[in-house]
């Protein structure tokens, strides 16, 4: 039954990494968007007032850049990971 437990332990890792990256990255992206829109408020009638603050925009773009960097790094690890880090 070793192969079954091996498979289950691999699935467990997929779930853990999945939550970390698969749910974490969209959440980080959402933080970036929120920061980009900091300073703007939505009124009760749905209109938007105020303008985005410069600081918020700067932080927002940094966060989005981090998200993109992590995603690209992920691709590199997946495609070339075995050559870079060994098996």
């Amino acid at each position: 039954m070793d192969i079954v437990t091996d498979t289950l332990s691999a699935l467990w890792k997929v779930l853990a990494v999945g939550i970390l990256l698969g749910a974490g990255l969209p959440a980080l992206y959402a933080l970036g968007l929120r920061s980009l829109n900091a300073g703007r408020t939505v009124n009760a009638d749905g209109t938007v007032s105020g303008s985005a603050s410069a600081g918020g925009r700067a932080v927002g773009f940094v966060i989005l850049a981090v998200v993109i960097a992590i995603a690209l790094f992920g691709i590199v690890v997946i495609v070339w990971g075995k050559q870079i880090f060994g098996a």
Partner: protein, 403 residues
Amino acid sequence: MEALFILIVVVVVALAFDFTNGFHDTGNAMATSIATGALKPRVAVGISAILNLVGAFLSIQVALTVTNKIIAIQGDNGAPIPSLMGVPILTIVFAGLCGGILWNLATWLFGLPSSSSHALFGGLMGSAIAALGWGGVKWSGVITSIALPAIFAPVVAAIVSAIGTRLVYAITDRLAPESRERGFRWGQIGSASLVSLAHGTGDAQKTMGVITLALIAYGSWTSTDSIPWWVKIACAASIALGTYIGGWRVIRTLGKGLVEIESPQGMAAEAASAAAILTSSHLGLALSTTHVATGSILGTGLGKKGATVRWGVAGRMVVAWLITLPAAGVVGAITWGIAHGLGPNAGTAVVLAILIAASGFMFYRSRKNAIGANNVNSEWEGGLAPAAESTQPVPAAGTPAKA
């Protein structure tokens, strides 16, 4: 001479399978982006096709292990068992591919996303059982490579996607709906592109492995740890072309049928799919892209407060998944019987004719309620077929993303 004829047919049919694999699975990556209007349908399938092509060339793993996990026609190093060299192995592979193609087309006709890999495995298992008896299948491999992943993949993806969806909505609940929708479209496009790339690295490889196995069985290739360059190019091109043609029926079910999707949900779903697929392939665990993508889309419906999941549609998919292996297996076994019974030349020709006729019939049936880029996003009214008046292009939620 006999073996050469089957070899040529096997290569062509394998590429045809690769093509159906591409168009059946376009929806896994792009259904959500098409449904939310983040990408126009034609643009979406175009991007997905290019990334599948790139992914197919990036795949570096040895592909001969794909069949070797499931059926007992190869030795430990991946080379065919000597007694099966030539016609026997080519016939088994040919019949298996027929089972895979016909199941892919049948599920596409009904607009059901189902795993192309399972269809291929099912077909191969059926033909191997017919040829070699029950010992022709490696049952432990079936449990670890097919059964367990099939049960867990949708669950894992749904959990990740539901958590992501919940987080994303919680974080952005005070944003103006338009800026939220617009902002997430870009995230959606990025994450969907990742899924396309991952699909290319994983799925094109399977066909490369099958063709290489056939070449070894025929005797025109000997290396078990490399693939002829023309096989790589042909497989990459087939899967990309299939992706570009777009399995609109499946895209429609995934994008409109299961859950009504907004772009934050689309991003959460595709990010969950990409993470699950890439992590599992890194760990050498073959999760089906289809199972993962479907689970993610379902999960994003569960994660958003007030969203409805159409459980009837989900139930039909599960039924299709459960009968994939036996259905493709029966076709694989019957076609093996015909091909083997009538002898290598006549048998192969007859099966090929049956395959072409059955495929043509299913294509003909699909034209009766054709679904394409024009009506893929029509309102879901109880079934795949859109209402007659909605053949005009229906704008999805909002307008496409602007630069």
